[in-house]
């Protein structure tokens, strides 16, 4: 997806053509494309690891050596969490769309934006080094004292990669927060911001406040291993539980780093394909912000069985139930937005509906594992694996693909082939459920995560899961083919092919180098769609244009 050659003569794509004009660009749109290339690469690296895991688990005795299996699930976790899911929507769609959607000519700090991409790639190289040298077997969580005292692998390189990766997250998040505060076009008040902008704003706050704690945590792990001191070693006065507290103080909010921008994307898609204003806009913004805030007070639910006191377990359980309230508000509001709408089932809408369904299942099972008594049974089983994949893959990846299709004409100036895209969206939904629903059952039956072998009576469910994974693989590779084809052969896109209200649709497709000829003036709220005749009023007041 990196090389895009087509487009109108004046667009950001064709304005300059040298390699250095790409590698040294300060244009947020080009940087978004650079990020697309990087995260697509890592998505497939993580996907290869996932493929090997599912191939291995198709039979009880397996395919890989136990030690190799450990290295595969570790690499799958690290790559997918830090090198795909966390940067996925913010650095690509966010980078491209946010300045356009608020009527700005670029992000506040274009050089920092470019630096973020270089730092991301640097961290990726360090991780690839760890991978090529033999990988690590700690799991993506680097739990001490195993990671510091016993693990036989490149823990320091992997933690260093995560540490460097954090700088990239922080640079991106900082840019968005400052840009959304200071560079909104005249008339673009906070309560007129599209929900995608709110999603990116809330996620940026979480990135900024959580990532530094992870940086310090992995730094301490690397120091302990490198210097041979006992920061988390109980024999030398250290406390391994302290590591878990610090790790999850970041890594629980990290789940919301993945889901908040996805929620923003889905709000854009649903309104456009239902031709209705979002139900309860104000509630949606408060829900995003309360999820972001409450996400910092629930980390202990990862540690119910780790030896924390029952009183703190109860408090963390309660806080986790609280986070379900704004999440449910969002689901109800999306559903209510469908009511009396004029719905078309284009591919982005299919992805969005898939998101709502899968996120709901992921969220409800989240309540099950947040219940202390049930979690004692389900902790570290495939139930947990299935739960968080419903959120991260069913939720975030669906929204990422939905958003990618929706903004594809804006990004590339070409329309994607609708039938192929619908097929990919449906395959994603079917393949995903077939892969992960059996894992709920396996987990409930007691199959532990991270074990490389299992008793033969669980094989049927595991075979179903592996079969689903192969469908999912097809669903993820398909877009690479037809989107690539559309770059060269796709129909040219009009400025506003979906008749959507956002400011990004009020400029040419693809946009010119500095986004707008003149800074737009905003006179209308987002989502002024009319379900009766499908008409709309764009945020700059243009009617049906």
């Amino acid at each position: 997806m990196a090389t895009i050659t087509a487009g109108l003569p004046t667009s950001y794509v064709t304005s300059e053509n040298t390699i250095s004009s790409w590698l040294l660009t300060k244009d947020h749109k080009r940087i978004a494309l650079l990020f697309f290339a990087s995260i697509t690469f890592f998505f497939f690296i993580g996907g290869i690891a996932a493929t090997l895991i599912r191939m291995h688990l198709a039979t009880p005795e397996g395919l890989l050596q136990p030690d190799i299996y450990n290295r595969m699930f570790t690499m799958h976790g690290i790559v997918m969490v830090w090198f795909f899911l966390i940067p996925s929507i913010p650095t690509t769609l966010g980078n491209f769309i946010i300045p356009l959607a608020i009527g700005a000519h670029d992000l506040a700090f274009p050089r920092i934006n470019l630096a973020s991409w270089y730092v991301f790639n640097l961290s990726g190289l360090v991780l690839l080094y760890a991978l090529i040298m033999g990988g690590i077997d700690t799991g993506w969580t680097f739990y001490t004292p195993y990671s510091t005292l016993f693990a036989n692998g490149y823990v320091i390189a992997a933690t260093l990669a995560v540490f460097i990766n954090g700088f990239s997250s922080i640079m991106t998040g900082l840019n968005f927060v400052v840009t959304i505060h200071r560079l909104r076009a005249p008339g673009m008040t906070w309560m007129r911001l599209p929900l995608f902008v709110w999603g990116i704003y809330s996620v940026s706050l979480v990135m900024l406040l959580a990532t530094p704690v992870l940086a310090m945590t992995v730094l301490l792990v690397a120091m302990e291993r490198f210097m041979g001191v006992g920061i988390f070693d109980p024999a030398r006065g250290g406390d391994p539980l302290l590591f878990q507290h610090m790790f999850w103080f970041y890594s629980h909010p990290a789940v919301y780093i993945m889901i908040l921008p996805a929620m923003g994307v889905v709000s854009e898609l649903i309104t456009c394909y239902v031709r209705r204003p979002i139900f309860g806009y104000t509630g949606m913004t408060y829900a995003l912000m309360s999820i972001a805030i409450i996400s910092f007070f629930v980390w202990g639910h990862h540690m119910f069985t780790a030896g924390i006191s029952i009183y703190s377990a109860v408090v963390f359980s309660l806080m986790t139930f609280f986070v379900a309230v704004p999440s449910a508000i969002k689901v109800f509001n999306w559903t209510a937005s469908l009511h009396k709408g004029s719905i078309t089932f284009d591919a982005p809408m299919l992805y969005a509906l898939g998101f709502v369904l899968l996120f709901t299942i992921g969220g409800l099972t989240g309540l099950i594992v947040a219940t202390v008594a049930l979690d004692v049974h389900l902790q570290d089983t495939y139930f947990v694996i299935a739960h968080f994949h419903y959120i991260m893959v069913g939720g975030t990846v669906s929204a990422f693909f939905g958003g990618l299709h929706y903004w594809w004409p804006k990004i590339t100036g070409r329309l994607y082939p609708e039938m192929w895209a619908r097929m990919a969206a449906l395959l994603t939904f079917v393949g995903f459920n077939l892969t992960f629903f059996p894992q709920f059952i396996l987990g409930y039956l007691g199959m532990p995560r991270r074990y490389y072998a299992y008793p033969p009576e669980w094989q049927a469910w595991n075979v179903l899961s592996s079969a689903g994974a192969s469908i999912l693989a097809v669903a993820y590779i398909l877009p690479l083919g037809y989107l690539g084809w559309s770059l060269l052969r796709g129909e040219r896109a009009a400025p506003n092919p979906w008749r959507a209200t956002g400011l990004e649709w009020q400029t040419s497709s693809p946009p010119p180098k500095h986004n707008f000829e003149r800074t737009p003036v905003v006179t209308a709220g987002p989502y002024l769609y009319d379900p009766e005749d499908g008409g709309f009023i764009a945020q700059n007041g243009a009617v049906n244009a």
Partner: protein, 212 residues
């Protein structure tokens, strides 16, 4: 004097300047969490092992830490005076106050270097020559691990600050900090004060608690 144009994404220079300052404040928020996590681990362990930490902390070189507090607080004053001079367009004063700030920063690093040598001489450097005194066992080493993560990290931030001040001196020479636009200097000033503030928090943790 060069006349600066705002970058393409800004309508005016003052919007650009205010945005740069907001950016630095946000960055300082992330840095607060970064150092905060480290100081948090310190308090957890200090709470778990109060006697051992007090015993280990007696080796910390009090005069070095205290002199450094004075140096850094003074450097924040000279930095503010530099900004004041920039706002008035007094270029010679601006240059001199920046040089004074850099000088105080370098003095801090020198005192820190002397202190690290003294720590080495006292056998207080974990994983190099640490010797646990009986009264410190088993957790006294954790105090020095904290010390040798916190102080080099702080010194690294200070060195970055020194680099930024040199860059500001170069920009003063080039003549692009004018009374109409000196936001870059204010941003560096914010950063410098933050590094100063971190030391204000590290100082009691390392040198004062449990000393009496």
């Amino acid at each position: 004097m060069r006349s600066l144009q705002p970058e393409i994404q800004y309508a005016t220079l003052s919007q650009q300047g205010e945005t740069a300052q907001l950016g630095m404040w946000v960055f300082i928020a992330t840095e607060t969490l970064f150092f905060g996590a480290l100081i948090f681990t310190y308090f957890i362990y200090r709470d778990a092992y109060p006697k051992e930490f007090a015993e280990a902390g007696k080796d910390a070189v009090l005069w070095c830490g205290s002199v450094n507090v004075g140096l850094l607080l003074t450097s924040s004053l000279t930095m503010v005076l530099a900004i004041d001079a920039a706002a008035d367009g007094r270029r010679r004063h601006l240059k001199n106050w920046l040089l004074a700030t850099a000088g105080l920063g370098i003095a801090f690093v020198c005192v820190k270097g002397v202190e690290w040598c003294l720590d080495l001489a006292h056998h207080d450097v974990p994983s190099i020559n640490f010797i646990m005194k009986p009264a410190e066992a088993p957790a006294g080493e954790l105090f020095w691990v904290f010390y040798f993560i916190a102080t080099p990290l702080h010194a690294l931030h200070l060195l970055i600050g020194l680099g930024l001040i040199l860059y500001m001196l170069w920009r003063v020479r080039r003549g692009d900090l004018t009374p109409a636009y000196y936001a870059p200097l204010e941003v560096v000033g914010l950063y410098w004060s933050f590094v100063d503030t971190v030391w204000i928090f590290l100082y009691p943790c390392i040198y004062l608690v449990g000393r009496s």
